[in-house]
Symmetry: C2
Subunit: 373 residues, 2 copies
């Protein structure tokens, strides 16, 4: 079958927890009203059994596939979503929502606080992966979907897939957590903490209340540069940059000598144009708080009805394969039907966005065998 | 034999390249006068054949062993240097000098520029590992040492050991490069670039001219936190911190929740008290510029007379073992007598400072077989 892009899409919005109702959060606090920005690809079938929820990573958004008006950039998982692709939009109804706490249309720290008329800033409550999933469940209810065929995502998206299975095992038939973990290791927390410290060390951050004065651009750019190093592998950086110089000779000055330096600066300072620093703080904290290890996963479920496909990548040192293997061991203890692949790739953590062919082969086959009755 | 600390030491200073003379630098620029702060442990023997030069790493200094007056902290390699220790001060004359560009007594960006009467700041010329070694050679000349028994160091100290062998193969009998590389990979350059960007993004940096207004403390602290993550291993962080909380419960605020966060903040902000931000910039650049790969190593020497002991650590991901194996392959091509050990350790890059027992066994045996005639 011909594989093609889904084509034009348009952003959609769903608002719930309108006063006096509020979304109850894991912290004990609550939030409302809550808006989710989302996109859909394909058609929901008559018995509403063909819906697949795609969950995005730290700096992702609802634009997973196709093209938006006035934006030439295809969605972040465009290669995986479309007619004939792994998430085949001629068969499945695929949807993706921006997480709460984000800055791409869903309610987050840059949104207007209804009580003050100003952006929440640090008055926004701390949110967790479970809270993100609870908000998505409201969207699924609204769309009239009783049971998702699958929840799929990489990195933080994979945590959401695991959280869906743990929080609402009766609301999904399968889950595909990719390049993810049951909980952050201290090294992962440490990288996130330095990212947060970098943002908060920038005087322009103003303890979070910068929406009138402008973003803490330098702090956020440095934070993103740290991220980019962890997304790539030693080997992929060697292949892409080696020690190639930007000019013929070393400058013997504090300018960009090596191509890798220019790349990092470009990616760092480009990021500040499209992402809110406070969202980066809230979402990294949600990542660090996430912990479904041991008895925290499906606490009331002896034998899970959810089927799992777990995927990791050998060169991913941010979410190393041993963390996916911990997921698999936990799922086996819950007697889950679980398939696991540790894929060869040199792309490091970025592999989940890049290794489309390998992922397509595994995901297509896995989805074809999910019982929808 | 009883192993004991060397005891009290005192800082010494040597100044050369006094006007009109200057130290010629690799950049084409020059520097003078140049002061080196150094310490010595043990006695130089009559034929001056027992001198061992210890070279320090990025944030190290001349205080390698023993105790200084008014400072309770033993030198950074105290476990390796002293009577009966690996660098046995009852047999050897051990010395260590702060590198040029540093901030612990040797001439660096915080030193007074003789032409302006103010700190050099960014008028300090860019320096390289070869320049550091050239300055050390002046000190060795001054001490009347024709041939060093050994040059030893870890990380940047190991680069200096390799540079000594390449620049002055007739001035040393042996070299022990530990946990080091012939050149930085793009990943290593990337970490250093983010470290530099973090410092330079701090408005208090003032393009380097901050000596009257005060250090860019926040930028330097974040820079050092990045460093600390790379010095440890995933495993050593798990052993030391796991996901241990500072308080009983998660705070759901942007405070320190996990012990690893508190550790990083403490190490980061403690560092700004003892290290100059501009020195960090200059020295990281020297690390990135270093490249003795291929024909750059001992270009005029067909068969090196220097003996080598190369050591790496399996969990060191900042200077991975494959980089030490590249050193060994290059040395074999120069027909060098080379011994190589890839030691098991969970401590990551920090292992070269921690795994004293294993290092002692290898170094003692190696030094005992160096021909001094």
């Amino acid at each position: 079958m011909k594989k093609e892009s889904f084509g034009m899409v348009h952003p959609q919005y769903f608002t719930f927890a309108e006063p006096p109702h509020r979304l109850k959060l894991q912290s004990g606090k609550s939030l409302g009203p809550v808006t989710l920005a989302y996109e859909t690809y394909g058609e929901l079938n008559d018995d509403r059994s063909n819906a697949i929820l795609v969950c995005h990573a730290l700096s992702g958004d609802a634009h997973a596939a196709g093209l938006l008006p006035d934006d030439p950039t295809p969605g972040w998982w465009d290669g995986l979503i479309g007619p004939g692709r792994a998430l085949d939009t001629s068969q499945y109804f695929v949807l993706c929502a921006n997480v709460i706490g984000g800055c791409k249309g869903s309610t987050g720290p840059a949104s207007i606080h209804p009580e003050t008329g100003k952006p929440y800033a640090l008055d926004f409550p701390m949110i967790t992966i479970a809270d993100m999933v609870d908000a998505q469940r409201h969207l699924i209810d609204y769309l009239g979907i009783d049971k998702l065929l699958c929840v799929i995502g990489g990195s933080m998206g994979g945590m959401q897939a695991l959280q869906w299975a743990s929080s609402y095992p009766d609301r999904l038939r399968s889950a595909i957590p990719i390049a993810t973990a049951l909980k952050h290791s201290p090294q992962q927390i440490a990288f996130n903490e330095v990212i947060r410290q970098s943002i908060m060390a920038d005087p322009a951050w103003r303890k979070g209340y910068y929406y009138e004065s402008g973003q803490p651009e330098n702090g956020l750019a440095v934070a993103r540069m740290i991220g980019h190093i962890t997304f790539m592998s030693d080997q992929s950086m060697e292949q892409k940059f080696s020690r190639k110089l930007k000019k013929e000779n070393l400058s013997f000055q504090f300018t960009e000598d090596f191509e890798v330096e220019g790349y990092l600066r470009y990616r760092g300072y480009n990021f500040v144009k499209r992402f809110d620093a406070n969202s980066y703080l809230y979402i990294t904290k949600a990542l660090d708080y996430f912990d479904l290890s041991g008895e925290r996963f499906m606490p009331d479920v002896k034998k899970t009805p959810v089927r799992f496909l777990v995927i990791s990548f050998k060169s991913d040192w941010l979410y190393p394969s041993y963390q996916s293997q911990e997921i698999v061991r936990l799922l086996k203890r819950k007697h889950a039907y679980t398939t696991y692949f540790d894929l060869t790739s040199t792309y490091g953590h970025d592999a989940f966005l890049v290794e489309i062919d390998d992922e397509t082969r595994l995901i297509k086959n896995f989805l074809a065998h999910i019982d929808r009755t």
